[in-house]
Amino acid sequence: MRFFSESRIFLVVSVSLYLVMKALFAFDIISPYIQQICLYAVIVALTAIGLNVIYGYTGQFSLGHAAFYGIGAYASAYLTKILAIEGVLPFIPVLVFCGVVSGIMGYLIGIPILRLRDDFLAIATLGFGTLVRVFLDNSDKFAESLGGSRGFVGIPRITNLELVFFFLVFVVIITRNLIHSRYGLFWRCIKDDELAATSVGINTTHMKLMAFTYGCILAGIGGALYANLYSFLHPSNFDILRSIDFLIIVIIGGMGSIMGTIYASIIWVGFIEGLRIVLPAQVLDLRWVVIPLLLIALMIWRPYGLMTKRRR
């Protein structure tokens, strides 16, 4: 029963939030630039939830999340441009398809690398991220319209408030149900102690692969929404630094907390984009000096994330 009341509250809150946002958008109270940032924050939240399932719940450290985000973005950009999709409704199957493409890539790459632990998994996912980056930089050699290192231009601009909001709510509900299902229990078992999880009969390889694939599907959907929001893609948008962005969001929001991830995404995007408006360019360079320092301080004082209490 608790679950139903919780999800009812969640639905009420999200619908009212949607109405507020819609009003703000419809009456032009906030400028189109800020509207775009709002949508971007939701997309980042969607993608970061994917990483949270991989890292926060299952404990598989991935430094290549932006690669799957990029795969989704390029797949969607290519499809919507080739098929000349303009409406929201025909775009939804494309979105789902892009999520599946990312998920399949995640599945295929996960089979070999998820056997690795902690730091070796980190370096392997980082390697995959670099491979994808190299591929995207050379993509014009395979298909001219992908643009290669010049960037992908002319993507139809489809993403709107309804779409990102619907997908976020949808993903939050599905993720929440997954986490509270037996699979979610297995994932958390693997995070706490992989050896013990194996010894009670959990197929850890299978479960890790499942969490990884699910996270990659979310990244693919996020990437597809991103591509059709900004209508321009460049390989440098999907490099290691972007993966670290998502990692920082998951850490700030607390590993293994969906709502925390959403808050952290909004704070993060607001911080990065908001400072761009407020501060002059010279001071802006200091952002990336301060962020790593905060990250180090956070790791020393709260190694389990800002919004989760210390366990054990």
């Binding site: 070796f120 370096i123 392997a124 491979l131 190299v134 020393i300």
Partner: protein
């Protein structure tokens, strides 16, 4: 051009790059040995070394042998401080926290040093302390830069070998990397040895930075990222935690990279290195020289 001499020439160029990778890889492999940590900031110490050398040569005109000593000292101090400030408080924390801290330190060094007040994010021409001369050996030419790189790398490796296998510090380091708790029980000061490992690794990276600057005379604050990751891959390829494995891995990675650039396309060289990494992790995770399989 004759294909054999072309291959040999590229092989020499690959050894030049590989020697620098080997020097960096040693730091990775030693730190991994004692702390089980991928020290992401190591590539940035390499960059720091190149910049210190640049300032010493370009701004102060200090003779080259002093440049080596001062740069090694500066890098050693940087490595020591990083270990003391960022890694030591996390000795008992989860392994991933330590890894994230390492990423944080790396980002901090890159973006802090790229501020306009410090090194600026631009590419800077590294002044060569001597003119480049090529010696024609009928099949291939070798430059004096390459000879100097080979000699300095060889001397550094020899000194490191003496340090690790012939002194008490080296014995303590090997003991700590073998089994930290037992080493502590035998009266070895773990913290001191870990700091010492960082100091040795960082000064080798500093030497690598100077040599890289001399060989490829263009330096940038972000130049440490890819050589750093490739050197780590070299350490994994040779067998992580094994000193001579890092050297062999570094040379192989350097030669592979130059061959891919020469025969395929320079845009694919990073990709090929990571394919090597995947192949090693899948088929022989303990590396070329490794015997125990316990890292996976």
């Amino acid at each position: 051009m004759d294909i054999l001499s072309y291959v040999l020439q590229q092989g020499i160029n690959g050894l030049q790059l590989g020697a620098v990778y080997a020097l960096i890889a040693l730091g990775y492999t030693m730190v991994y040995g004692v702390l089980r940590l991928i020290n992401f900031a190591h590539g940035d110490i390499f960059m720091f070394g190149a910049f210190v050398a640049y300032f010493l040569i370009a701004k102060f005109g200090i003779p080259i042998y002093l440049v080596f000593i001062i740069t090694m000292l500066a890098c050693a101090i940087a490595g020591y401080l990083i270990e003391k400030i960022a890694y030591k408080p996390l000795r008992d924390a989860p392994k991933i926290s330590l890894l994230i801290t390492a990423v944080g330190v790396s980002l901090f060094l890159e973006y802090f040093l790229s501020l306009n007040a410090i090194f600026t994010p631009n590419y800077i021409a590294f002044p060569r302390p001597f003119d480049v001369k090529g010696y024609d050996l009928s099949l291939f030419t070798i430059t004096n830069v390459q000879i100097i790189i080979f000699i300095i790398t060889f001397v550094s490796l020899f000194l490191l070998y003496l340090l690790i296998y012939r002194t008490n510090y080296g014995r303590a380091m090997r003991a700590v990397s073998h089994d930290k708790e037992t080493a502590a029980l035998m009266g070895i000061g773990i913290d001191g040895i870990i700091s010492f490992t960082f100091i040795v690794g960082a000064s080798l990276a500093g030497v690598g930075g100077i040599l890289y600057g001399i060989a490829y005379p263009q330096i940038n604050v972000f130049m440490g990222i890819m050589p750093g990751i490739k050197s780590f891959i070299a350490a994994v390829l040779g067998g992580i935690g094994i000193i001579h494995g890092a050297v062999i891995g570094g040379l192989i990675i350097g030669i592979c990279e130059v061959f891919v650039s020469a025969f395929l396309s320079s845009t694919f060289r990073d990709g090929v290195i990571f394919i090597i990494l995947f192949a090693v992790l899948l088929f022989k995770p303990s590396g070329i020289l490794g015997k125990r399989i316990e890292k996976v």
